[in-house]
Structure formats: structure tokens, C-alpha cells
């Protein structure tokens, strides 16, 4: 069986075209993709937003100032020629794609803040429809800033009193409330008014007051270890490509051996069929494992990829190699001619690469695609690698992707080998 494996590895080595696909292409992919992401990271850090402050009240200014502090937002208040934005020209900029969004604070924004948004829409947020990924995020930070401004005012007794006064006026003028309801609410407001000095007391503005709970804390999801370089994000994809290429190469080699008749020679040699299939599988496994290791070493030594856990990394690579060696066997029985097998294997490989995040980043996938990627072994392969690079998975978290990879590998090897041996032996 080792003889068979060595022969296959030698053939792979001699096949320069396959080598390119197995090593050079994934590497080039990782490098360019990594460079693109690295370049993007700087720009993407700041979303360009046109700000139109029609209110010019202390509250609107406070909101603008707060938003401007946010690290991922860049405010633009005027056109290139120095003309300040109005609502229309701001929207225009977004439509043209020059800016990601525009934010209009309508007149009396400050007032409405006191009355909990009574009196119509005072904030208008327009977002480029092609930037859906950022839309929720932007809404979030605008909300957060608004609440923060609101909360600031609550820690200031004067502001609270003003707010309570407005509130009382609102209640008195409210037509939909019965007299009794109004009475109860007014008494409640009076009570709060009395309590304000005690409540706020010696709390200085800006600190967490009793109303600080209103603050919407948006906590970004962080990992203990965040990707340090863009290459840490793209390297799992490179390895995925490498392993997929190995898989394809060996799938083809099985079909070629069938067509060329060398498989016949193997079959009439004094070998069990499991030796023959096992030799193929082992060769595929070793080349998957080997190329993954080569890429990984290049990544670690040249591109600053950090591996948080080497044992996990090795197991991840092993599991991945097992998985795709198994799939190789299954793919090789998809058709009887070289073209049929290579064609379908190519298609499947592309789907896998896509779902695994090799083409479209997982973050940009529509929901249905994400859901589909759960049944795609490539995704679990990438996850297993990421788990050992920057996601900092613990053992329990690693077990799921490992388990999926290993069982997919073993299962598909079994099915593929069974079909192949029934067909050709």
C-alpha cells in the first residue's frame, strides 16, 4: 500500500500543473485576498456619513459630537466646495455612492428628545441600499448616541426639571387620556420633581446616574485573540483551496487510472482492493496534510500568522485532510468519464469554496447561503482552522468542527470506496 501511495505522491510531484493548483494558487489567493482585506480595513474603519444639523440645538450638537467620536464613523458636513449639506444634497451624495449614509437632525430635534420623540420624525437616517451589512450597525450607533445624549440630560437636574415640565404640559394637553389618568400621571410627575435633587444629588454629569440604565450599550463581539493581520483571515481560505485542489487532483487521478488501464494492472496484481483504495486515500490525505502544512509554515514565517494552539491546528488540518480525502473517493465515482467527473467535481469544489468563504466572505453572505454553508464541510474546515488561529476555541468548541469533518470524511470514503469497488472490481 505504501508503494501505491509513494507512486501517487511522485505523480503529483511530477504533475507541475497540479502542483500549481495545490500550492501556488492557494498561496497567491491568500496573499492577494489578504492584501485586499488589509487595504480595506483602513478604509472600512470609517464610514462616510453626511451630517445635516438643521436643529443646531445643544442636544443636536451633543449628538453630533458623540457620533463623531465613534471610531468607525467619519462625518462630512459640507460638500467639496465648502457648501454645507442640506437634506437633499446629502441624500444625493449617498445615492451616488460617495458616502455610505446621511443623517438629518430636523429642527426641534432637541425638543422632541425631551418628549420621547413626540411630534414626528426628527432624525432621518438614509443608508446606501448596497451597504446593508452596515445598515444595522449604523442604526445601532445612532441609537446609542441618541440615548447617550438623553441619558446625559437625565444626570443634569436642570435638564430633568425641564423635561418634566414638558412632560407635564404634554399630559395636560393630551386628549386621549381620561381626567383620572391625567391626575395620576401629574401626581407622579410632581413626586419625581420633588425627588430629583435626592436622586441626582451629588452625581456629577456624565457619570452613571439612576437613569443611566437608559444607555444602550452596544458591545462589539470580540475574541480574546482578534485577527492580527488580514492574512490570518485569508489563510484558512488558502488552506481550504489547497486541500480542495488536492482533492480534485486525486479525484482526477482515480478516473485517469481507470481510463488509462493502470487501475487494471493494480487490480490484477496480488493486492486487495482495499489496499488500492486505501493507498489512494492515504496519498490524498498526505498531500492535503503536506500542502496545508507548507502553506501554514509560509503563513507563520512570512506573513505573521499566529497559531494560538499548535496541537489544535494539527488536529484541524488532520481532520480536514481526512474529510477531503473521503470526499475525493466519493467524487471519483460521480461519473464514468474523465470529463463528467472533473466537471462535477469542479462544480462541487466551487460551491464548497464559496460556501466555505473562499470566494464570498461569510460576512457578506445572504441568510440562505449562510444556512447552506452549515452543511458544507468546507465551512467547518475553515472554522476549525480559524478556531486554532484566532478564534481561540477551547477543546469543546473545537470538537464540533472536528467531529463533522472526520465523520464526513469517513462516511464519504466508505460510500465512495463501496461504489467504486462494486463498479470496477
Amino acid at each position: 500500500m505504501l508503494t501505491l501511495t509513494v507512486k501517487d505522491l511522485l505523480l503529483l510531484w511530477r504533475n507541475k500543473a497540479a502542483l500549481v493548483w495545490v500550492i501556488v494558487f492557494p498561496l497567491a489567493f491568500g496573499l492577494t485576498y489578504g492584501a485586499v482585506i488589509a487595504g480595506n480595513a483602513g478604509r472600512r474603519a470609517k464610514l462616510g456619513i453626511a451630517l445635516v444639523d438643521e436643529d443646531q440645538s445643544p442636544a443636536s450638537k451633543a449628538l453630533a459630537a458623540r457620533l463623531a467620536q465613534h471610531q468607525s464613523v467619519r462625518f462630512v458636513t459640507s460638500l467639496a466646495d465648502g457648501q454645507p449639506f442640506d437634506g437633499e444634497s446629502a441624500a444625493q451624495q449617498v445615492r451616488r455612492g460617495d458616502l455610505t449614509a446621511y443623517l438629518v437632525l430636523r429642527p426641534s430635534f432637541g425638543e422632541s428628545l425631551r418628549s420621547f420623540g413626540q411630534g414626528g420624525k426628527k432624525i432621518e437616517l438614509g443608508i446606501d441600499p448596497s451597504r446593508q451589512a452596515e445598515a444595522g450597525f449604523l442604526q445601532g450607533i445612532v441609537m446609542e448616541a441618541t440615548f447617550a445624549v438623553l441619558a446625559d440630560q437625565f444626570t443634569n437636574p436642570e435638564e430633568i426639571r425641564k423635561w418634566l415640565k414638558v412632560g407635564r404640559q404634554e399630559i395636560e394637553h393630551a386628549r386621549e387620556l381620561t381626567e383620572t389618568q391625567k391626575q395620576i400621571l401629574l401626581e407622579f410627575f410632581a413626586l419625581v420633581d420633588d425627588l430629583v435633587p435626592q436622586l441626582v444629588g451629588d452625581i456629577s454629569p456624565g457619570e452613571e446616574g439612576p437613569f443611566g440604565g437608559l444607555k444602550l450599550d452596544v458591545v462589539p463581539v470580540t475574541y480574546d485573540l482578534q485577527p492580527r493581520s488580514a492574512f490570518e483571515i485569508t489563510f484558512p481560505c488558502s488552506i481550504l483551496w489547497a486541500v480542495l485542489s488536492c482533492m480534485l487532483t486525486f479525484t482526477m487521478s482515480i478516473v485517469t487510472e481507470q481510463k488509462q488501464g493502470t487501475l487494471l494492472r493494480l487490480r490484477v496484481a496480488p493486492l486487495g482492493k482495499m489496499h488500492i483504495l486505501g493507498g489512494k486515500g492515504l496519498a490524498c490525505f498526505l498531500s492535503c496534510f503536506g500542502t496545508a502544512c507548507i502553506l501554514l509554515l509560509l503563513g507563520v514565517t512570512c506573513l505573521g500568522v499566529r497559531v494560538s494552539s499548535w496541537p489544535y491546528m494539527l488536529i484541524s488540518i488532520t481532520a480536514m485532510a481526512v474529510c477531503f480525502s473521503g470526499l475525493m473517493m466519493l467524487l471519483s465515482v460521480l461519473g464514468r468519464t474523465e470529463q463528467a467527473v472533473v466537471g462535477s467535481a469542479m462544480a462541487i469544489m466551487l460551491v464548497m469554496a464559496t460556501l466555505g468563504g473562499g470566494l464570498v466572505p461569510l460576512i457578506a453572505m445572504p441568510d440562505w447561503m449562510l444556512a447552506m454553508s452549515h452543511i458544507c464541510p468546507a465551512k467547518w474546515g475553515v472554522l476549525a482552522l480559524e478556531g486554532a488561529i484566532w478564534r481561540g476555541f477551547n477543546l469543546a468548541e473545537m470538537l464540533l468542527p472536528w467531529g463533522i469533518l472526520l465523520s464526513v470524511g469517513v462516511l464519504s470514503f466508505g460510500v465512495g470506496a463501496w461504489i467504486l469497488s462494486r463498479r470496477a472490481f
Partner: protein, 295 residues
């Protein structure tokens, strides 16, 4: 040595092999002669256990299971297609196949160089197979069946599509192997090859074996008569000719053309030129099937 009884194999619609029985005795060269699609390859596949017969039985050296490792070690197969690794050299191909038969070390080296010599490839032994000509590949394909020095050889159209020079080389090699006492099953659709190499020939068509015998016997039984064609000079009065003269040309069929010619000469007939067309395996096939061998 090899015995097959009533082998049958059908693919989806085609009955590829339809009740083939044959028996090879040790040391003989046995030809399986038939046109493309006759079922020769399918028969070989069943003999070596690469294909399970629908029906019938194969016995090799007494063992009815050709997939047993000890049986396989005794058989060398040269498939009809060149079953070689293009990216490996001749030496690497031979060594690889040798190792499959658990050869190693000096013994392997010795066998590999013997095979290279037989195939006439010693000079190009280190080059990749993909740089070889068709004839060289054919020779290596035969050599790869011989690395493990098997006493039984199954050669499936080993000369298909090669230039005359390589063909001659191949036929010489096979004759040499036969002289060394190997049992050879040789399939071909070239009757001259069967005639030159084989002790016995089976004529096969459409999955059936139509006749098995030595070449001479086949010719005698199924070849029909020879054709004698002669240009005559002086013909004495009163000599009766076996066929009417056309000008001074005499043409007739006979099972003993030379005796007939001799009798005429003794009667005083002068021969300017004469020419005998002996029956060939081609005419044997024609007589057995009503079709020509190569359509």
C-alpha cells in the same frame, strides 16, 4: 494451465461473451483471433478475475479463484490500452509494478533491466513515458507484464496500432518468451500474427468461439482449397486441363495444388510462370462467419 468453461458476460444490451470454453496447456502459445468487438478483451478480463462472469468457470493452475494472490503472481497481463504512468520513466513504471508483486532490492533491479532489454528501451530508460513513441509505449506495456517473471502471459492485442518495425520487435520478443516455456494467451485481429506465433488458434466472433485447432488443421478444415494460377507455354495434344484456358492462363482451385501442377508437368505441359494462393486464416474466418476479418 488455463481452463475456462462456458464463460458468459453481458453488458447492458450486448452479449459480449457467449459461452466461451477454452483450455491452454502449459508452454503453448494460444491465439484468440477475432475482429474488434468479438469479446476477446472481455474474455481476458474474466480469466484474470477483473470481471465477474455472469456464468461459467475459470481455473488457473487448478485454482478456480483467479483473484487469489498466489494465482495472480503467476499471471502477467498486458492490457489492450497502454496501461502506464505517463509521468514516470520506464524504470519507474517497471519498478513500481515490480514492487506490487513484492519484488525488491537486487532481484527487482535485475528484473527491471531484463525487461528493459527485452523491450529495447535501455537507452531511454530514464525518460518519462510521455516522451515515448507509440511503439516504445507498446513495448514497455508488454515489459510491465513481465517484471514479476510470470509463467502465464495474457497479451491483449499487444501490437495494435504500431509501426512495422516495433511490431517485428514485439513479435520477436513474444516468440522468445514462448521458447522460454511460457504459456501465452495472445489475442489479435491480425491473422498473420496468429499464424506466425500461435501453436493453436481459436477463431472468435460475436462472443462465441467458432473453431479451435492448430493453424494447419484450421486451414485444412476450414480454409478451403488453394488457388493455382499459371501461365502456360506449350500444351501437348490430349492432355486434359482441370479448367478451361483463358488465353494462356490457367486458373483452378485445388486442395493439392503442387501435386496437380506436377502431374500436368509430367504430362508435358510447359509452365511459364505459376503462382499458388494458399488458404489463410482470413479465408478460414470468411468460411466460418461469411464475413471478412477486417470490415
Amino acid at each position: 494451465m488455463i481452463r475456462a468453461r462456458d464463460l458468459r458476460k453481458a453488458y447492458a444490451k450486448i452479449q459480449a461473451v457467449d459461452g466461451v470454453s477454452l483450455e491452454l496447456v502449459a508452454g503453448e502459445t494460444f491465439g484468440l483471433l477475432g475482429p474488434n468487438g468479438a469479446g476477446k478483451t472481455t474474455t481476458i478480463y474474466m480469466l484474470i478475475g477483473a470481471l465477474r462472469p455472469d456464468d461459467g468457470e475459470v481455473a488457473i493452475n487448478g485454482s478456480t479463484d483467479p483473484t487469489r494472490p498466489d494465482v495472480r503472481r503467476q499471471i502477467g497481463v498486458a492490457p489492450q490500452v497502454e496501461a502506464l504512468y505517463d509521468e514516470l520513466s520506464a524504470v519507474e513504471n517497471l519498478s513500481f509494478f515490480g514492487r506490487l508483486y513484492s519484488l525488491s532490492g537486487d532481484r527487482l533491479k535485475q528484473r527491471v533491466s531484463w525487461c528493459l532489454g527485452l523491450a529495447g528501451l535501455a537507452a531511454r530508460a530514464g525518460d518519462r513515458v510521455k516522451t515515448y513513441s507509440g511503439g516504445m509505449k507498446r513495448r514497455l506495456n508488454l515489459a510491465c507484464a513481465l517484471v514479476h517473471d510470470p509463467p502465464v502471459l495474457l497479451l491483449d492485442e499487444p501490437t495494435a496500432g504500431v509501426d512495422p518495425q516495433s511490431r517485428n520487435h514485439l513479435l520477436d520478443s513474444i516468440e522468445e518468451l514462448a521458447r522460454a516455456g511460457r504459456t501465452i494467451l495472445y489475442t489479435t485481429h491480425y491473422m498473420e500474427e496468429a499464424g506466425r506465433l500461435c501453436d493453436r488458434v481459436a477463431i472468435m466472433d460475436q462472443g462465441k468461439i467458432l473453431a479451435v485447432d492448430t493453424v494447419d488443421e484450421l486451414l485444412r478444415k476450414h480454409g478451403g482449397d488453394s488457388m493455382l494460377e499459371a501461365e502456360l507455354g506449350q500444351i501437348p495434344e490430349g492432355v486434359s486441363l482441370p479448367a478451361p484456358l483463358e488465353g494462356n492462363m490457367l486458373r483452378f482451385a485445388s486442395d493439392q495444388p503442387f501435386e496437380d501442377a506436377n502431374r500436368l508437368r509430367n504430362a508435358g505441359v510447359q509452365f511459364v510462370r505459376f503462382h499458388v494462393d494458399r488458404p489463410s486464416l482470413e479465408s478460414v474466418f470468411l468460411n466460418l462467419t461469411g464475413r471478412r476479418l477486417r470490415d
